[in-house]
């Protein structure tokens, strides 16, 4: 059942288009991430759901109720901010109970809900502490509890982990996801961190220059990027210009080397220019006889990245990366060596223009 709908949303600031023709339907209990670089419009879109910005055109509905022009304090939407935004003059318990106090709930009801929320974020003993007495991770958990205490229809999270160090980020994102699943609440999460989006989301909306580039599950976004931008933004991807040789046989050519793809090329003609993309981990050195997708290359550089070894290759005039798992018995070529690599036809993606 569609819970949150954004229809034909556009937002302009002084002649500059921040968000353009944004359409999205979010199911109840779904965790959707808006992923993109700075200035791509993801936070603006989130702020339009929260009511802090009014769309220039388009409509925002929750459970079929049009909330496009409703004031932020009239919507039942919880929000977690990057800067925590805890009220410094209030204790943790007062922060969590503030929304309920505004709703004029009884003191007993507020106390019960605050206790429940403190247990949810595992900060039962911190109810009387002030925000400045907590660590950043604890403050953000309190901010999450405060947003959830009002039982919002939708939970919005605006880069909530950006101000935290890497280790806390990883543990807290898992905690956020677990709480969201436990409560079954619809959540919209804004981030520029692809790893965060891939690890936490049911679906990801990749945005660029105010437009949606692709909507899909993390698996789809990573493995089947549809545009050059998604390909370049999510993970490391080798891209190269190619020419369609035979659409029926899925044959392409880069720098005179023929490649076979699994992608459908019915709408293409021989001679059409396209961009192909191959993930670095999809390449292998040739260990046995192969007939297709054999690429002659020269080793340009080898970089150790811990569990992975990244090898930079020159194929024709294109620089490609190849990733291989590190192990103590790995036999690596030397820089300057000539080698042959291969990849499966499924690994060769053809990007939309």
């Amino acid at each position: 059942m569609t819970h949150l709908t954004l229809s034909n949303i556009c937002k302009q600031f002084a002649g500059t288009t921040a968000v353009e023709d944004f359409n999205l339907e979010v199911e109840k209990g779904e965790f959707v991430s808006f992923l993109g670089p700075s200035g791509c419009g993801k936070t603006t879109t989130l702020r339009m759901i929260a009511g802090f910005e009014v769309p220039t055109t388009g409509k925002v509905t929750i459970d079929d109720a049009d909330i496009t022009y409703q004031a932020p304090n009239q919507r039942n939407v919880g929000m977690v901010f990057q800067a925590y935004a805890l009220f410094p003059n209030m204790t943790v318990a007062q922060n969590i109970g503030y929304g309920l106090r505004i709703r004029k709930e009884s003191k007993t009801a507020i106390k019960e809900r605050v206790t429940e929320m403190l247990a949810l974020i595992h900060l039962e003993k911190k109810g009387n502490s002030y925000p400045h007495q907590l660590s950043g991770g604890q403050q953000q958990r309190v901010a999450l509890a405060r947003a959830l205490a009002i039982r919002p229809q939708v939970l919005l999270l605006d880069e909530p982990l950006s101000a935290l160090d890497a280790k806390i980020r990883v543990s807290l994102r898992a905690e956020i996801r677990a709480i969201q699943k436990k409560l079954g609440i619809t959540a919209i999460y804004v981030t520029h961190d692809q790893e965060e989006a891939l690890s936490i989301s049911d679906r990801i909306v990749v945005m660029y220059e105010g437009r949606i580039e692709q909507v899909g599950t993390p698996f789809e976004i990573y493995n089947f990027p549809q545009t050059a931008f998604v390909a370049s933004f999510v993970g490391t991807l080798n891209t190269a210009p190619a020419e369609v040789v035979d659409p029926a046989k899925h044959l392409l050519k880069i720098d005179g080397v023929q490649l076979e793809s699994a992608e459908m090329l019915e709408d293409k003609h021989a001679g059409d220019k396209v961009t192909i993309a191959i993930r670095p981990e999809r390449f292998n050195f040739i260990a046995q006889e192969r007939k297709a997708n054999i690429l002659d290359c020269q080793i340009e550089n080898i970089t150790f990245l811990g569990s992975v070894v990244r090898i930079q290759l020159l194929i024709g005039s294109n620089h490609f990366y190849m990733d291989t798992f590190n192990n103590p018995f790995l036999e690596l070529p030397k820089i300057g060596d000539k080698a042959q690599i291969t990849c499966s036809r499924e690994a060769v993606l053809v990007l939309k223009a």
């Binding site: 935004a85 009220f87 503030y98 505004i102 002030y130 950043g136 009002i150 160090d165």
Partner: protein, 260 residues
């Protein structure tokens, strides 16, 4: 730091202290000489036993408190909304807040008298005009203190966080903004108090009872009591500063963000 530089620093500091404290010390000693041949607090006793002092001083306190209340009601929402909605106006408003330093009080008071001494704005005899005038004179201190307080918190994010929890403008101002800038407001309030208590021209020309015109009158009549009043006035100002420092010290005027 070299030894020679340090000696010079001490010399400059001592000259500064002497420049400030010597006249004050001389005034204090003079105020103790009301009784012939002995040092006593007779002048202070005379001042406190004078009903006119109590009358005029009480009025000054009343004007000061009214000015502070009006200042808070006027400048907190103004500074808040300018930070939140029209930050571009900040430099223009800052310039306006400095005008009382530029325009002499005597020019200001004649402007008030001329503007408000004939219908439809015949309020020259109303205490409201005096309080409005004091509010303008204390504006550089009050507004800038409040603005500095607002700068120390993330006004926009706190406002949005409160809005997302259902709070309206009144709740945001009274529950979130005011408590988090209370030290700044107190600083502005005490500075305004000191300004109003010592202000002479407005009260004199708007013909309202106040401490400064009373003190000026006493200077023409007596010798030691005005000196005692000057010391009392200084003591009040210092007490106000001390309270600001006390309230400010150790106050958890926490900031948004931070942590790790």
């Amino acid at each position: 730091m070299k030894r020679g530089n340090r000696i010079w620093s001490w010399i400059v500091m001592i000259i500064g202290i002497l420049y400030f404290f010597l006249p004050l010390l001389a005034t204090f000693i003079f105020s103790l000489k009301a009784k012939l041949g002995v040092l006593s607090f007779q002048a202070y006793a005379n001042v406190f036993h004078d009903p006119a002092f109590v009358y005029n001083f009480s009025y000054s306190v009343l004007w000061a408190i009214s000015t502070i209340v009006v200042g808070i009601l006027l400048f907190v929402p103004t500074a808040y909304l300018i930070r939140l909605r029209v930050p571009k106006l900040r430099s223009a408003v800052e310039f306006i807040t400095l005008l009382p330093f530029v325009i002499p009080a005597i020019v200001f008071v004649f402007g008030l008298v001329r503007t408000f001494s004939h219908p439809p704005l015949l309020i020259v005899n109303s205490p409201a005009l005096l309080i409005a005038g004091y509010t303008v004179l204390s504006m550089p201190y009050m507004y800038r203190s409040i603005d500095t307080g607002l700068r120390s918190i993330d006004v926009r994010t706190l406002t949005e966080a409160a809005q997302s929890l259902g709070a309206g403008w009144g709740s945001i101002l009274f529950d979130i903004i005011l408590p988090n800038i209370r030290v700044a407001i107190l600083s502005g309030a005490f500075l305004s108090f000191a300004i109003v208590i010592g202000e002479y021209i407005l009260a004199q020309y708007l013909a309202k009872p106040a401490f400064a015109p009373y003190m000026a009158y006493q200077i023409q009549q007596k010798a030691y009591e005005p000196a005692a009043m000057a010391i009392i006035s200084f003591a009040l100002t210092w007490a106000a500063m001390g309270i600001i420092a006390l309230v400010g010290r150790g106050n958890g005027q926490a900031q948004v963000g931070g942590g790790h």
